[in-house]
């Protein structure tokens, strides 16, 4: 078992319900393969540094989990087929991992709970700030 981190970017025009649906679907694969999800957090709607599939913005989401390679394969396969996903990247965070110790460590940092709202305060602020900018942009365009 390894610890992986997957970040994926979704289409900006998705509704909250669609985003949640996709997230629960992806998180379901971790459970299905007997992995353990450490945290799942939204990184908010951000401007992309360059255009991807003609989009200039994207909704970022980050998953941290311990699982076998088969789980990663399935997650990546599904993200690849999903048209609402602009891009994804999976990285290995640790080759060997003591699952319970890591879970406790993350809990101690206050980042636990596999809920999308469980983002740390500072990041939430940034997200809100960014969203405010996005809103401004929209109003300007109008």
């Amino acid at each position: 078992m390894r610890e992986y981190e997957t970040v994926y970017i979704m289409q900006p025009q998705l509704t909250e319900a669609q985003v949640n649906q996709l997230n629960t679907k992806v998180q379901g694969f971790v459970e299905k393969h007997g992995g353990r999800l450490f945290y799942a957090r939204s990184m908010g709607k951000r401007n992309l540094a360059y255009r991807i599939k003609k989009q200039t913005k994207g909704i970022y989401f980050c998953l941290d989990y311990a699982a076998g390679g088969g789980c990663v394969n399935e997650i990546e396969h599904n993200l690849m087929l999903d048209e609402n996903v602009l891009r994804f990247l999976t990285t290995v965070r640790a080759e060997k991992i003591d699952v319970d110790a890591r879970a406790a460590e993350i809990e101690a940092r206050g980042e636990a709970a596999p809920v999308s709202e469980a983002a740390p305060l500072s990041e939430e602020k940034e997200t809100m700030h960014k969203e405010a900018i996005v809103k401004e942009d929209v109003s300007k365009e109008e």
Binding site: M43, N47, A49, Y50, R51, G58, R87
Partner: protein, 102 residues
């Protein structure tokens, strides 16, 4: 012969001048400390585009460590983080000729 003479003289001139400059340089020079070694709490994270910004040139290229002062280990880490951040569109591969209207 004349050609070579001139060449040698030029080299000599340079040597002298550089000698003088070197002395001045030694007084003012101070090895830049790797900021990740100085501050152990600072972690290199590819998800944090702002953190990586100081290691990029204006055009989005990675700055060599002889300039930014990183140690070899942390420069490697920064390089990997920058490349990952580029894939996730957090920082640009290069500044485009037709930049996005943001």
């Amino acid at each position: 012969m004349g050609f070579f003479d001139r060449g040698e003289r030029k080299r000599d001139d340079k040597k002298e001048r550089r000698g003088g400059r070197d002395k001045k340089f030694q007084v003012s020079t101070r090895r830049k400390m790797c900021r990740f070694c100085a501050d152990k709490k600072l972690t290199i994270d590819y998800k944090d585009g702002k953190l990586l910004q100081p290691f990029l040139s204006e055009r989005g290229r990675i700055i060599p460590r002889r300039i930014n002062g990183n140690c070899a280990k942390h420069q490697r880490d920064v390089t990997i983080a920058v490349k990952r951040a580029r894939i996730l569109a957090l920082i640009p591969f290069t500044t485009s000729q037709n930049p996005l209207v943001v």
